[in-house]
Amino acid sequence: MKTQERRGSSVIIISFLVSFMLLMMPLPDFMRLARPEWVAMVVIYWSMALPQRVSVGYSWTAGLVVDVIRDSLLGQHALALALVSFITIRLHQRLRVYPPGQQAATVFLIILINFLIILWIRGIIGAAPSLWQILIPTFTTALVWPFVFILMRYVRRQFQVS
């Protein structure tokens, strides 16, 4: 039983690595602000699909890496992503059965909370971004979410990650 429960760790790690790569991918200047939160989406997906495996700790570590990639204050994305994971794990049973539209709306709210945390932290250190700067990526994330969800579900079933 125990061995069957922990299959496909490499798939989870690779999915995180791909999300880091997407985070670093250069974008044209007008799309800079609109970059979807890939890492947050991967965190939401795994917390929803496998809440018993991908815990808050995983997400926190991933957030720490995001902090280094973005060269932001060490711990701010870690805190935000840990919270994202926490909320998703709390809601995972509902999220799984939601129709795509409602799911995207919930993801929108979760990502907004993620950005609010970052906004607060940046506000405390005195470099707060403006509101539309956090709303645009939240919108794009919610728009991209259904496709990411379908892709990740396919990957999970294909490799039988459990």
């Binding site: 670093m24 250069p26 800079r32 973005r70 926490f86 470099a127």
Partner: protein, 276 residues
């Protein structure tokens, strides 16, 4: 969850206040270095392809233009050599400190937009190559920015257009000193605290003044694009354009600040000693 929240807050405080966690940051940055290289592969392939499949005609044209440019630069250099010796001579006469030209290192950009709210780049040289935090970075056209965090193999640098970046400058035409600060816009920065009556014109060029003891003196920094004087405001709003090609340069130069004289009353040296 609670433990993680506390841990994050502790980490953030340590990072913000005391810079104790720089080694942790450097460690993680080494771990993600391969990922950065992988992201860079498509660009590398593109460059390799465009280099390899160039036609004979383009190569000839490029060669010709490079030759012309070389001639021009050589001619300029003759003048420069003369001016340099004259300058040295004058400085010797004045018994002031000698300028020793600094060491440089060529680095390549690994990735650009990291954080949508900042203007930063990652370069492929780190503490292995002797890069240090606070090191000036220039390109062939002018000042680009300053190194902020150093990893083992790569480091992060803040560009001059970042809102948190300020640069002490001096105008070539008038010798007026000012501070130029980034706006967050990709190719603009603004000159702060210039009175409405300051002697400036659109098109005026300015260079680094070296007053902050960070940048060496005399690197081209930018050019004034527009001046708006509103009598109701205490200062003129002056928008300028950086002379460095921030969006085009792929190779950057890291500069080791020239040691300006060995005298005991060298302000930069005193400043550094006070810090350490």
């Amino acid at each position: 969850m609670f433990i993680l929240v506390v841990l994050s807050i502790v980490l953030m405080t340590l990072d913000h206040r005391f810079h104790h966690v720089d080694s942790l940051r450097a460690g993680i940055s080494v771990l993600i270095y391969p990922v950065r290289l992988m992201v860079d592969i498509p660009t590398e392939i593109g460059e390799w392809a465009s280099d390899t499949f160039k036609t004979r005609k383009t190569l000839q044209e490029e060669n010709l233009s490079l030759k012309t440019q070389n001639q021009l630069l050589k001619a300029e250099l003759q003048k420069f050599n003369y001016v340099k010796t004259e300058n040295m001579h004058l400085r010797a006469l004045l018994k002031s400190s000698k300028e020793i030209s600094g060491k440089v290192l060529i680095a390549e950009l690994l990735s650009v937009d990291l954080d949508p709210y900042k203007r930063q780049v990652v370069i492929n040289k780190g503490s292995n190559d002797g890069v240090f935090a606070g090191q000036p970075m220039v390109d062939a056209h002018g000042v680009m920015g300053i190194v902020t965090h150093v990893g083992l193999l790569s480091s992060t640098a803040l560009l001059v257009t970042d809102p948190n970046h300020s640069l002490p400058i001096q105008f070539l035409r008038t010798g007026l000193r000012a501070v130029v600060s980034g706006t967050g816009d990709k190719n603009r920065f603004e000159l702060l605290y210039l009175p409405n009556s300051a002697d400036i014109k659109v098109g005026d060029e300015f260079v680094t003044s070296g007053l902050g003891c960070v940048f060496p003196t005399g690197y081209p920094a930018g050019k004034i694009l527009e001046i708006n004087t509103d009598p109701s405001l205490p200062f003129a709003s002056v928008i300028a354009e950086p002379s460095a090609k921030l969006n085009q340069s792929r190779e950057v130069l890291l500069v080791w600040p020239e040691s300006r004289g060995t005298g005991e009353n060298n302000p930069c040296r005193l400043n550094q000693e006070a810090k350490s």
